[in-house]
């Protein structure tokens, strides 16, 4: 019995950990290219989920496959727009504070827009990615399996993109030295727009995949948004494979913690881990040096 419980806790933790990991990847992308933390990233995820579920599926009645493509495309355009209108001006400000406040208020604006357009009633998409897979006595949802596969694909694609394509290489160059990049003839602003659009697309993908797990409401991503920040640091800040390791570590540890501490303190684990890592080993679990 106990063995089975531990196994189930690990599997469920792993599943949730991959969601944290994707969140960490999504904000790390923006951080690497602009040096900004996107404090509205949880609202991006929420926005993506609403565009897919409320707009395309329920209002317009398109099939999920088309809905997903349309949502990702919409979020790409949305990403370019906010990058041009908000992130690029904020990036050049004298203090990072402006970017923090700017993105916080962008998040609040997104929440209000969503509430005014699609209403405050929580909803779900019946039948979408519902159901579980049983391996022996251990249970995992189909949605979680999808998350794991998609995150693996995203990480591989990103690695290929950054190392093999011209745009990707240019993006890395921009990350390292903006002045040099400009001298090399790289359009930094355009490059950053692309990165942010990419991040918005990943946010939308997260939003779509968590619909069967969480209820679609205005606070759908609040908790994973905060813990995703922790995941990115725990694995190794600014390093994409580290995000995966950090996410999984937090997911599994917080679930296993329920065996020894009251369940109510489970949510502290991510933040305790965050502070401990920052103080003891700031380079993260993987110890990656930039």
């Amino acid at each position: 019995m106990t063995g089975q419980i531990i196994l189930q806790l690990i599997v469920s933790g792993l599943a949730l950990g991959f969601i944290y990991a994707l969140v960490a990847i999504e904000y790390t992308l923006i951080f690497n290219s602009t040096g900004l933390l996107n404090f509205s990233h949880d609202k991006f995820i929420m926005f993506g989920a609403y565009i897919f579920a409320a707009q395309f599926l329920l209002n317009m009645g398109v099939s999920p496959a088309i809905g997903i493509i349309a949502t990702l495309a919409t979020m790409f355009i949305f990403g370019v727009l906010v990058a041009t209108g908000i992130f690029n001006p904020l990036r050049n400000m004298a203090s990072p504070l402006f970017a923090v406040i700017g993105t916080v208020f962008l998040g609040r604006i997104l929440t209000e827009i969503t509430r005014l357009i699609w209403g405050a009633t929580p909803f779900t998409v019946p039948g979408f990615l519902k159901g579980v897979v049983r391996i022996g006595n251990v249970v995992i949802t189909k949605a979680n399996i999808t998350v794991i596969i998609v995150s693996a694909i995203i990480v591989v694609l990103l690695q290929i993109f950054f190392n093999k394509t011209k745009t990707g290489k240019a993006m890395r160059c921009v990350q390292q030295n903006k002045t040099a990049a400009t001298l090399m003839g790289i359009n930094v602003a355009k490059n950053i727009n692309f990165t942010i659009a990419l991040s918005a697309v990943i946010c939308a993908a997260i939003g779509i995949m968590v619909i069967p797990l969480f209820t679609v409401d205005l606070t759908i991503a609040n908790m994973i948004g905060l813990k995703g920040f922790a995941a990115g640091v725990v694995g190794g800040f600014g390093y994409l494979p580290g995000a995966i390791v950090g996410g999984i570590a937090i997911g599994i540890l917080e679930n296993l913690s329920t065996l020894v501490i009251p369940t109510l303190y489970k949510d502290c684990i991510a933040f305790v881990l965050l502070i401990a890592i920052l103080l003891i080993k700031p380079s993260g679990l993987l110890g990656h040096k930039k």
Binding site: I5, S12, G119, T124, V139, T215, T219, N222, L264
Partner: protein, 381 residues
Amino acid sequence: MKKKRIVAVILSLTMMLSGAMATGVYADELDGEIKIGLSCAITGNFPLAGQRTKEGVDLALEEINANGGVLGKKLVYTVEDDQNTQTTAVNVVTKILNEDVCAVIGPHTSGNAAATSELYKNAQIPFLTGGSSPKLAEMDNPYFFRIRPSDTINGQVAAKYAVETLEAKKIGISYNNNDFGTGGRDVVIEALEEAGIDYVAVGHNAGDKDLTGQIMQLMSENVDCIISWTDDAEVVLTARQLYELGMDVPVIASAGIVMDQVLNLLEPEYVEGWYAVTDFVSTNDDEVVKGFVDNFNDKYGYNPELYASSYYSATYVLADAIERAGSTDPEAIREALTKTSELKLPEGLYTCDESGDMVHGCVVAEIKDKVPTMIDYVTVE
């Protein structure tokens, strides 16, 4: 440089202008009206409750005014958004209290009702809230009236049902760690200890997205019945994960589960055979409830749920009290509210007791194929 200045000037102009416009609104005073206040969460983390509350009150006011109003005058309200946060609730309640209202409905949650209780006491204006925490009745505020069953009632009924009807030997209590969940948990625990039944209480925080740890704990304790005291989003999660993790024991859930907006989030098999202790079921075939459900459906196109029903009823309770008081003097209305007796409304039978509680019974419902059906109405003294 110049451009920046211009934008700055425009910004400050907008602010001044909006300030000027805001002061204009206060001048709106009309004769032949009786004004009440309404504080509910229109924005913030729980906007749906506020929306439904407002819909319920709107419908009640429409009906009341169509039937000749109160004391021959039109009953109107001034509504403010409390964002479901303490600071804002205190602000808007003070704002409402400054607008010549004779009574106020809201704020809704127990925490915010507690935060604003003192304001009402000082202003000597009665308020009607749906905050269900048993602790509210202990505040000893003569201006406090509760228009929903307190969790003392729901909790006792749930515990009694689990022990007597379901014959549970060991009960798992899954509660949300907020004012609502812990209040309910305490009542259930007290009732179970009285009955000498074994229990284990496992909590989660509001906004949690995974309850595997909690459910595994209940499983390893071999409970044979679960009482779930939690909010809308969390009860959905509880239902899904209990089903997925294959925990097949009877579940008695707190009020929210019977609402369409919650049931719509679930697959039927998640909650098949669940019981609920609740204040309002829209499938109730009681005539008063039926009439309300039909009218609500005509106006908004969907069924009412417990927020709408609570605050619809609250408006009627208040109208009734003002009518009996024969004046809009808040003290007279308070007197009249304490004498409310046997008033039949969709939310239940309203009789005020000495602590301000007005509803003393609740519905036990069973959910079959996502439709909650009333199986019993239990009154608790």
